[in-house]
Symmetry: C2
């Protein structure tokens, strides 16, 4: 497995592989890899000749009061995991190599303004921009994103369609701890009590899945979910919403493909979880 | 020469050429081709195995009160010219094929806010977005832009750098009529009197080139240029400015690579012209 630290050396290797006619899969990550990332890398390994994992904590998707500095990093461990999963290359650039006095960016309106976009107004602009850059550097045939970041996945799919990227976007299911908590690099922020409290998210998801039906009112689905979270003293709801699965706009009835998504603070840690429901 | 009308058939042909190892050059145009475009196509023909000309009046780069409807079109003539210049493919999509409920876009700040960006606030967002789409559809090795649209060229270069497009941007000199008027599809809007009056732009450029020197104050260069335009009753200045050639920000002295650029209304027609000066 190769490790590249610059755009230039990455591009050079990719061009060589392209010349040899290899198909390329990209798994974009911010590192501190867990079983969720591993599932993306495994899927990528199945579907492509070459597996590239990018490992970059992208500063432009963090707001000024967010956890850029605190975000956990462990490149040694990431590197070993990628190697064990059969990745061919990890691209781990420095922020300086990725951004030199940047002025051009990629944004998406409407879809980025609900759910996490309300609390994190610049987040998806940063995501769209860095993903565009990674797509141009790695030139993948397919790219892999987790369904845990459901709004991100919907936004990337729309960006790919609107801007005519010739890349297949593959979404992979949420991976959970045995007790139900969705895997996340941010789970590392939780102390023991918070770790227990955090189970209210997956419990709410489970309840939501049980009560939803075709044509259900949003309130019928969301109220029991909210009740579960509100019963947990360490939890504070950012949002619990039902939205159209394509547009990310709030809807009143589950009369089409929907996403039921939530963000909840457990102490100071903001966690997300969701489920999709199709008609 | 092939003519394609959809993204899908264009991509299919491009993939075939890529498979054969051909290099691809793209000349993005809004059609109604003139000698300026022809010079881009010729340069593209020299440097690439395959020459693709896109011919698309992009609605998203026109403001609500601009000339989208009036913009001249003559696909038959464009097609013959491209064929005579040895182009391999014209891509002439419909607006409906290019845009389906678009929400993602590419923008550039700072560079897009001066010069033409002041009068045309959404223009460069439309340009960056459509050029990104064309780059993704045609996947060129090189793309050709005229230096007449100097701000556009600077913006495209910066966008390519910031977003890591693997495409060489080739700028080509302004082509002028015998009497000096810069070639433009919009020259067709001018009546005989206006056509004469429009010569004040190229006369001002000529004068600017004569008076500029390394370290010259902006006023020393711009005042005689403005005087020439102000002497013309049918002309009204939008701007005449000296800016840093990379950042497009106004500067006081010609102490680096500069662009001296102008936009002038001749009657209702807005024309542009410019020159570059390097230290």
């Amino acid at each position: 497995m190769q490790v590249t630290k610059t755009v230039e050396e990455t591009r050079k290797q990719i061009k060589q592989w392209k010349k040899e006619g290899k198909t390329i899969g990209l798994v974009p990550t911010m590192g501190f890899l867990h079983e969720g990332h591993a599932s993306l890398i495994r899927k990528c390994r199945e579907q492509n000749d070459i597996v590239v994992v990018s490992d970059f904590v992208n500063p432009t998707q963090f707001g000024p009061n967010e956890d850029l500095e605190a975000y956990p990093r462990d490149f040694e461990r990431d590197s070993k995991l990628c190697e064990s999963l059969g990745a061919d290359l990890i691209f781990a650039p420095s922020p300086e190599d990725m951004y030199h006095d940047p002025h051009a960016f990629v944004s998406i309106d409407t879809l980025s303004e609900t759910l996490c976009g309300k609390t994190r107004p610049i987040h998806f602009k940063g995501v769209c921009t860095v993903v565009t850059k990674l797509f141009h550097i790695v030139a993948p045939d397919r790219a892999y994103f987790g369904e845990k970041d459901a709004q991100q996945l919907a936004i990337i799919r729309k960006m790919v369609k609107d801007l005519n990227f010739d890349i297949e976007i593959v979404g992979c299911p949420i991976v959970r701890e045995e007790d139900g908590l969705a895997k996340s690099s941010r789970n590392t922020y939780l102390n023991d009590k918070e770790r227990q409290a955090a189970l209210c998210l997956s419990r709410a998801v489970k309840t939501g899945k049980e009560v939803i039906y075709i044509g259900a009112d949003a309130k019928e689905v969301l109220n029991p979910m909210k009740a579960i979270i509100e019963a947990e003293p360490l939890a504070r709801i950012d949002y619990v919403m039902m939205v159209d699965a394509l547009t990310m706009q709030p809807i009143e009835k589950a009369d089409r493909d929907v996403l039921v998504a939530m963000a909840v603070y457990i102490g100071k840690t903001r966690l997300i979880d969701n489920f999709s429901y199709g008609v």
